[in-house]
């Protein structure tokens, strides 16, 4: 290759890559004030007025029969099923048996899982959180993985049915308790910032971001074939959930995997640092909203 041709080619590559970086960051954003937690939806999809409380849900129950507007309920009307028996409840029972049997064989496991407190009651509402000793952000699923690795004969990996089922049980012990992710913790705040960036990052062959379907001005509120994408606010509160279309319990990170496959992007393993950051971002968007498991979606 002649030097001149090589220079042109190199300049071209440089220009292309510079351009590419620019496109990634120029996704139109609707500002989110993280301190507002779930109430930030008021300037976002503005649907929280329909689903933000039981009273609002009752008042707007008629939207359930309105195909063009049912999206405004953010699927929260399905949480009425919490009181009835469904496979999510069986998952909670199974999870309880698992955690009890591991804890009776190895009391250190429960101690680790409950961060030394001995009881798991209400703990999940403060997840994800920064663990100083481990120097990383821990989700409930990551805590189960870590404590099993340290104290049980076999590691209970994130994304495995046992991890999901026991995480569902742990979260059910905080059901009804408002999510309070601690944004005053610097590592959590940084994870939130990274997670927000990932939410807007264009990925995959179809060139979609999470934001392509879940922000004002995107597909949100419009029909995507038979579905209408909803707001990202208040959404993680019901995970892990029993997914009726696939007939199994699904943790948040496997939900990400499913989305990314549909976007024709490379899915990441559950527990991946990027997925954890995305979970922090979405959890802050659920701050102040009660944990709603077991649930059906």
């Amino acid at each position: 290759m002649k030097p001149k041709a090589m220079f042109v080619a190199l300049a071209g590559i440089f220009a292309a890559s510079a351009w590419a970086v620019e496109t990634e960051d120029r996704y139109p954003r609707t500002p989110i004030v993280p301190e507002q937690g779930v109430w930030g939806d008021q300037g976002f999809s503005n649907t929280i007025q329909y689903w933000g409380s039981k009273e609002a849900l009752n008042k707007n129950a008629s939207l359930q029969d309105d195909p063009d507007n049912v999206w405004k309920l953010n699927h929260k009307h399905k949480d009425g099923d919490r009181v009835d028996m469904h496979p999510g409840h069986i998952g909670v029972e199974e999870g309880r048996e698992m955690v009890d049997s591991w804890s009776s064989k190895k009391p250190e496991f429960l101690k680790c899982l409950s961060e030394g407190k001995g009881s798991l009651q209400g703990l999940a509402a403060n997840y994800p959180k920064y663990d100083e000793k481990l120097d990383r952000i821990m989700t409930v699923e990551a805590r189960i993985e870590h404590c099993s690795q340290t104290h049980l004969p076999k590691q209970i990996k994130q994304g495995s049915p046992a991890n999901t089922t026991s995480a569902l049980y742990v979260k059910s012990l905080s059901a009804g308790k408002p999510i309070q992710v601690d944004l005053s913790s610097a590592p959590v705040e940084q994870a939130y910032q990274r997670g927000e960036k990932l939410f807007y990052k264009r990925i995959g062959q179809l060139n979609f971001a999470c934001a392509s379907c879940h922000t004002p001005g995107s597909v949100m509120g419009h029909k995507l074939r038979g579905e209408v994408p909803t707001t990202p606010f208040g959404d993680v509160a019901h995970y892990p959930t029993y997914r009726t279309p696939v007939g199994e319990l699904e943790p948040l990170h496997l939900r990400f995997v499913r989305c990314h496959k549909q976007m024709r992007a490379k899915p990441l393993p559950p527990g991946d640092p990027a997925y954890t950051d995305l979970e922090v971002f979405l959890s802050v968007l659920s701050n102040d909203y009660p944990i709603s498991v077991p649930s059906l979606r």
Partner: protein
Amino acid sequence: MSIRRVVSFLLPVCVMLTVSAQVTAEQKEKVAKPSEFPCLSYTAPCGKIGVRPVVKKMPQDLSLGDPERGKQIAFKRKKGNCLACHRMNGGSQSGTRGPDLSRYGSSGRTAAEIYAMVYDNRWQFPDTVMPPFGTNEVLTDREIRDVAAFLRASR
């Protein structure tokens, strides 16, 4: 019962398997893999890939494709899946995000313009949610010409 019999049975099977494996390998080569596009990872190579630059491809000497084939491609979920967002002639259960395309042939757009928009609509609307079907190899050149023909014929 002999080895010969077994061989005479297994040999064609092996040949068939090898041939079919080669065929699938060839087909796979043509299909763009998800890992060739950006992903969310901080460590995997796809995490460092940028989105593909915008390509404005508006061939003025465009030979239009087959509208019937274009319709199939437009409706198929694994292909264009245009119905996910657009109303289209003859389609059902369509989405509502994109403009109604059911009479797009009367819009005054030339075939070349339609081709360019399906190929990569970011040259017109940089923030569009519509996938760049040509740039990202979702559809081939011929498939896009077929879709353009279908849209031109939609009246």
